[in-house]
C-alpha cells in the first residue's frame, strides 16, 4: 500500500495546480494524481507542417475524437454542445485559448440583482487578492484601466492590436461601443522562465514557444520545487470512505493498469465539471448510496457549458489570420443586464483574428462558401486571411435538468463507467444568443465585412464545464460550503469549475484558479479546525 499523505489532489489542471502550489507552504505531504502525461513543447502541433490537421486528431478538443490512451470517453449524444477537455499535466490549460477575463462583481449576485438562479456565497471582493496572485503566477498580459472592470494591473503589456484588432477597434469606435484588449496568459515579455510570444498563431493546441501559460510550466515547477509530488498516468476510480464517513483515500489504476490504494487525510478534487461529478457518482457506497457528497442530490446537476455563437465576415484586405494569437479584443458593451432587452444577464463579445490556411478551406466549405470545381481557387483567395470573426460568450444559467450522470454502458479503458451529459440551451440563453448575433453582425458591417456567416452552436463547447457540484451555505441546496468543503464529508474538498453557482459570460480559467487559491487559503487558515 502507498504511504499516507496529508493531502491528495486529484487532477493537475488549472485548479489542481493552483491549490497544490498554495498548500505547499504548509509543508504538509501533498500528492497529486494525474491520469495523463507531462506534455513536451516539441510535441505540440506548431512544430510541424501538419499543425492544422492535428487539431482534428491527437490535439482535437473532444476527448471522444482525440481518444488518447489517457482520455476517457464522454457520452454527449444528448447535447447539441459537445465536451471539450484535455487530460495531461496542465489539464485544460494545455488546450485553451489563454483568454483570461475575470468574472464581474455582478456575476456573483445574480439572484439579488436580477432575480434569477442563486447568489454565490462569496463575492468578487473575496476573490480579488487571489485574482491578483493568480495573474502573477500565470503571467497575464493586458492593459489596466478597462472601465468594464474594477481596477486591476496585469503584470505584462497587452498583445499587439495588429491589423485585425485595428479593424475591429475602428468599427467599435464608429458604433461608440466598449472594447478593450483582452487579458491573456500569453507572455508578451520574458516572464518566469517563459519566452515571449513570437506569433506562432496556433495557441490553443499547445504553445511550442512556451509563451502560453499552462499550469505544467507555471504553477507545477514551483509546487514541485516546494515538495509536492505529482504522479502521472494514475486514473482514479473512486474515493473511499472510512467508518466515520470521512474520505480515506483513492483507488486508482497506475500506468501499468495495476490497482492501487492511496490513503490520505484530506482529499481535494480538481477534475473539472464533468470529471468531478463522475468520480463522486462512481464513489457510491453503502454509506453514500447516491454517490459521495450527494445528500443534496445535486452532484452532476446544473451543468453549464457557455453557448458560444460565432459570426464571421470577410473584408477587402488581408489581415492577421493565424499569424498571431487568436485573441485580440473583448467588448463588455452587452455584459450587464439591461431591462429593455428580452433576456437577463449578458455576454462578452470576443474578437478573433481569423484562421489558418487549412481551417479557412474546411470551415468555408462546411459553410457552403467555398465551391467545388474551377471556381474553388478564385473564391478561396477571396477568403484567405480576410476573415473577421466574433464569438459571443453567453452566460449559461443553471438548470437541474442539464446534468452529468454515469452512462450505463460506456466505460473508459480501465473499465470505469464514463460520464453522460444531457444538456439543452434555455430560452433566456437563446434570446441572448440572437441578441449577440445581431450585434456582432452590426460590428462586422461597420468593419466593412460582407459575406456574413453565423454558427449558432460551435461543434464542441468551449470546454467550460461548470456547476455540477455547486457551492453554498445550505447543505440541501449545495454540495460544498463557501470555502469548498463538502457538506457531507468533512475532509473532502472540491476546487474546480464544478463548484460554480452561475457561469458568468466569460472564459472561466481565471476565476477557477482564483477560487482554488481562495479555498487553499481558507484551508490554511483553518488547519487546526479543518474538520469541525
Amino acid at each position: 500500500m502507498n504511504e499516507m499523505v496529508d493531502v491528495l489532489i486529484i487532477g493537475s489542471g488549472a485548479s489542481g495546480a493552483a491549490v497544490a502550489w498554495s498548500l505547499a507552504e504548509t509543508k504538509m505531504r501533498i500528492l497529486c494524481l494525474e491520469q495523463g502525461d507531462w506534455m513536451k513543447q516539441s510535441d505540440f502541433p506548431s512544430n510541424g507542417r501538419d499543425w492544422e490537421a492535428r487539431r482534428f486528431s491527437d490535439f482535437d478538443v473532444s476527448p471522444n475524437r482525440r481518444a488518447r490512451p489517457t482520455d476517457y470517453p464522454v457520452n454527449d449524444q444528448n447535447s447539441l454542445m459537445k465536451v471539450a477537455n484535455f487530460n495531461g499535466v496542465g489539464g485544460g490549460t494545455i488546450l485553451y485559448t489563454a483568454h483570461f477575463p475575470r468574472m464581474h462583481p455582478s456575476d456573483f449576485r445574480v439572484r439579488s440583482l436580477d432575480g434569477v438562479a442563486d447568489d454565490w456565497p462569496i463575492d468578487y471582493t473575496d476573490l480579488e487578492p487571489f485574482f491578483t496572485e493568480n495573474d502573477r503566477m500565470m503571467g497575464v498580459s493586458g492593459l489596466a484601466g478597462d472601465p468594464a472592470y474594477p481596477p486591476r494591473q496585469p503584470p505584462m503589456p497587452p498583445l499587439p492590436l495588429g491589423k485585425t484588432g485595428t479593424r475591429y477597434a475602428k468599427a467599435m469606435n464608429k458604433l461608440g461601443w466598449h472594447w478593450w484588449p483582452s487579458d491573456s496568459t500569453i507572455a508578451t515579455t520574458e516572464y518566469d522562465g517563459r519566452a515571449p510570444c513570437i506569433n506562432l498563431g496556433h495557441c490553443t493546441p499547445g504553445c511550442a514557444q512556451g509563451a502560453k501559460a499552462s499550469t505544467d510550466i507555471t504553477y507545477w515547477p514551483h509546487a514541485i520545487r516546494a515538495g509536492v509530488e505529482l504522479r502521472t498516468r494514475c486514473r482514479v476510480r473512486e474515493i473511499t470512505t472510512n467508518e466515520h464517513g470521512m474520505a480515506a483515500g483513492a483507488i486508482y489504476y497506475d500506468g501499468d493498469g495495476v490497482e492501487q490504494f492511496q490513503p490520505a487525510e484530506v482529499v481535494i478534487l480538481a477534475c473539472n465539471g464533468i470529471g468531478t461529478p463522475r468520480l463522486l457518482l462512481n464513489s457510491a457506497s453503502s454509506r453514500f448510496p447516491d454517490g459521495l457528497a450527494n445528500s443534496s442530490g445535486l452532484v452532476g446537476k446544473n451543468l453549464m457549458l457557455h453557448p458560444w455563437p460565432q459570426v464571421r465576415g470577410y473584408i477587402d484586405e488581408r489581415v492577421d489570420g493565424d499569424r498571431a494569437p487568436m485573441l485580440t479584443l473583448w467588448s463588455k458593451e452587452f455584459y450587464e443586464t439591461d431591462p429593455t432587452r428580452d433576456f437577463v444577464r449578458g455576454y462578452t463579445l470576443q474578437f478573433a483574428r481569423g484562421t489558418g490556411v487549412v481551417n479557412e478551406a474546411i470551415t468555408s466549405a462546411d459553410a457552403g462558401l467555398l465551391p467545388w470545381g474551377k471556381d474553388h481557387h478564385r473564391v478561396y483567395r477571396d477568403l484567405l486571411y480576410k476573415r473577421l470573426q466574433i464569438g459571443i460568450a453567453c452566460e449559461d444559467l443553471p438548470e437541474e435538468h442539464n446534468r452529468v450522470t454515469l452512462d450505463p454502458v460506456l466505460k473508459d479503458s480501465s473499465g470505469i463507467p464514463a460520464p453522460r451529459i444531457d444538456y439543452t440551451i434555455s430560452e433566456n440563453t437563446r434570446r441572448m444568443m440572437e441578441h449577440g448575433i445581431a450585434r456582432a453582425t452590426e460590428i462586422l458591417t461597420a468593419a466593412g465585412a460582407t459575406n456574413h456567416y453565423t454558427s449558432r452552436t460551435i461543434l464542441n463547447s468551449p470546454g467550460h464545464l461548470l456547476g455540477t457540484a455547486r457551492m453554498g451555505t445550505d447543505p440541501e441546496r449545495s454540495v460544498v460550503n463557501e470555502w469548498g468543503r463538502s457538506h457531507d464529508v468533512k475532509n473532502l474538498f472540491i476546487v474546480d469549475g464544478s463548484i460554480w453557482v452561475t457561469s458568468g459570460g466569460v472564459n472561466p480559467t481565471s476565476t477557477i484558479q482564483a477560487l482554488a487559491l481562495y479555498i487553499a487559503d481558507s484551508i490554511k487558515q483553518r488547519l487546526a479546525t479543518l474538520f469541525d
Binding site: N47, R49, H104, S112, P160, N173, H178, A361, W372
Partner: protein, 154 residues
Amino acid sequence: MRNDPEMTLSPAEVRDLRCVAGMMVPASEEFGVPGADDAAIFADIIASIGRDFDSVRQALGALAALSSGQAFADLDETRRDMVAGAFQAQGGVVLATLTRVILQCYYRDDRVVRSLGLEPRPPFPKGHTLEQGDWSLLDPVRTRPKMWRDVPPR
C-alpha cells in the same frame, strides 16, 4: 492509414476518392496549382485518413449508391457532376469529413502554399511579426465612466 486490412480502402474506393478529390479541387493553370488528385497530394490524403476511415468509407459508399451500380470514377462527366451535386446536397458528417480529409492535405502542399504567397514551413520556430497598432484608438473608451455594476452589501 493503419495496416489493418479492414482499415484499407479497396482499389475501387481509392479510384473514386481520387476522382472526387480532383472534382473538389481541380488543377488550375490560372493559379499555377495542382489539383487534389495530384499524385503527391493524393498520397498524403491516403496516408492521413487515420481516424476518419469509417466516415470516408461511408462517403464513398454514398457516392457509389448515387452512381446506381456504376463506379463513380467511371461515370461520364455530366453524370459525375450530377452525382457529386446530389452528394453535396445531402450534406452531413460524411460530406464534412471527406471535405476535411481532402482539404487538410491539399492546403499544406508546398506548391499550393507558395501559390498563396506564403512560405511553406511550420509556425515554429520562426513565428510571425505582428504590428503593434495604434493604441490611441482606445482613447474614447478610456474616458467612459465605469460600466460594472455595484453589488449590494450582504
